[in-house]
Symmetry: C2
Subunit: 314 residues, 2 copies
């Protein structure tokens, strides 16, 4: 049976799975990332494990797709990823290809997830859409004319780092006011921390920033906690406004939301849509849907990486 | 000789020209737009004039490209263009095709000019770039993977109507703070009008908004007029910031500037680049050039419309 190997490299663990042409994961497992100081050792060790699985299941390996932080599609490299052991520029595709002797494709995790949504999820048949992951940070992938937008250097699609508020909140990237500082789990926590003095009766008032979680803020909204609701409202507002500007660039048919915040459906979708419509140029109004991703959380990364390979192999 | 007819429809006049495959205009003329109340009459009359030229010059007409305000590429229609006599939705491509019996392509003027720059101007060989016209308004066209971005509805690429300043200047589109209200000739005039009380010794102080022109503001900068210089600085600042956000979407190799403000080279290019770099995410810094369009002002529209057709015919 023809399969591709989808690999999602994270700072601590690497998830991988064998995925068939219809997007089904036939076998999945995970692997330590951070115990390997050399990328070559990581590849060799993974190869030994995977080879057995291929033999035992009589898979025919058609290719490998890799999603990795700071993965560059054009160069096949992982470049200066802050959360990985391997510093500098890692020629990941070259090393995988040498060991596995099969076509290997690599991009960053958000781009891989975007292609996953297009091939196997809710974006099937969409030629123009934007995909947003609302997790610890905000990632995005953009599809135009049925193709993922990589840009001239492979780094296109960083909506999380468009500036939502001039001179706004300090972002980890060194600048101020990035969307990510408002519309991510970290952004929710910041909103609570910054506004809590105005909401002294909030159940979140006594929780320190370090102990605050997205889950605790979400739970508080169920008790109609005004501070928690305000944090979600701010996230939706900034996301809606950034989307309104992004629509004026690529005019997508839909925007798909994935990740922690997107799971809080009743607090995000309608609100973001309202803020977006309020800020849209007339010609775009009431045309662009905001839809939930159809990928299941812990499958999206593997399927996305596999979709990258299937998309290239055809 | 194989030629295409490039037609630029404006509110008052229509410019057209026969353009060969290398982008040379072999013959050009213009035609009244506003004396025709019916689009069919406009097409018929233009046909009669153009037919003679085709016959006399023994042209072989390979196709027609049209740039028009609110021109929709997918539908071949001109939709609700405020400055044209023809109201509602005009099926322009259908009517041209019927009369001329040749392939006809239509898009808006900024998109046509973008394709002109790609085929015949400074963007030759660029697969990913953004094109900006800084005239009475701000128009733009975006190229990704060597293809113009039309979006799902044909209306992509309206950077002039991304919001540069929250709750900023009133825009003609009904919203506030659009880039166009700062970085166009109209924007320059608004800057002078809004700031003049702080610059009472400016040579522009006594000129009413209605009489202010882009040219008079530009001339004043030559005498180091602080108000005039400030107006250009504001234009460059807002443009630079919007470009920084747009780069995070499509990661272009270059941005081409065209039109009135771009002609004031020494006041726009370096300044816009500085503001842009200041606001760019690290991974994009020092990679994106801001370059002058290589199209000559009064040729760009005809060549752009012709390029649209050549690009489709191949």
């Amino acid at each position: 049976m023809k399969v591709v190997l989808g690999i999602d490299i994270g700072g601590t663990n690497t998830d991988y799975g064998f995925v068939d042409h219809s997007g089904e994961i036939l076998l999945r497992s995970h692997y330590s990332t951070d115990k390997f100081n050399k990328f070559e050792d990581f590849v060799n060790s993974l190869y030994n494990e995977v080879s057995v699985q291929i033999r035992e299941n009589q898979y025919e390996l058609a290719g490998i797709g890799i999603g990795a932080p700071n993965g560059n599609y054009y160069h096949g490299t992982i470049e200066h990823a802050p959360n990985l052991n391997w510093k500098g520029i890692v020629p990941a595709v070259k090393l995988f290809q040498k060991k596995f002797n099969t076509p290997v494709y690599l991009t960053n995790d958000a781009n891989a997830a975007t292609i996953g949504e297009m091939l196997f999820g809710g974006a099937k048949g969409y030629k123009d859409f934007i995909y947003i992951t609302l997790g610890t940070g905000v990632g995005s992938g953009i599809v135009v004319n049925g193709q993922l937008v990589y840009g001239h250097d492979g780094f296109a699609g960083e909506l999380g780092h468009t500036i939502a508020v001039e001179n706004g909140r300090q972002c980890g990237c060194g600048r101020k006011g990035c969307l990510e500082t408002y519309a991510s789990v970290t952004g929710l926590r910041k909103s609570v921390e910054l506004l809590k003095e105005d909401y002294q009766d909030s159940s979140l008032y006594d929780i320190s920033f370090e102990k605050l979680t997205g889950k605790s803020i979400y739970e508080a909204t169920k008790n109609n906690d005004k501070l928690a609701l305000k944090a979600f409202d701010i996230a939706a507002e900034k996301l809606g406004k950034v989307l309104a500007n992004a629509i004026a660039v690529t005019s997508p048919k839909a925007i798909f939301l994935f990740g922690g915040l997107a799971n809080a459906k009743e607090l995000i979708f309608e609100q973001t849509k309202n803020y977006m419509e309020e800020n849209l140029l007339n010609i775009y109004k009431n045309k662009v849907d905001i839809l939930p991703s159809q990928m299941i959380g812990n499958e999206a990364a593997i399927k996305g990486a596999a979709a990258l390979a299937w998309n290239e192999i055809g």
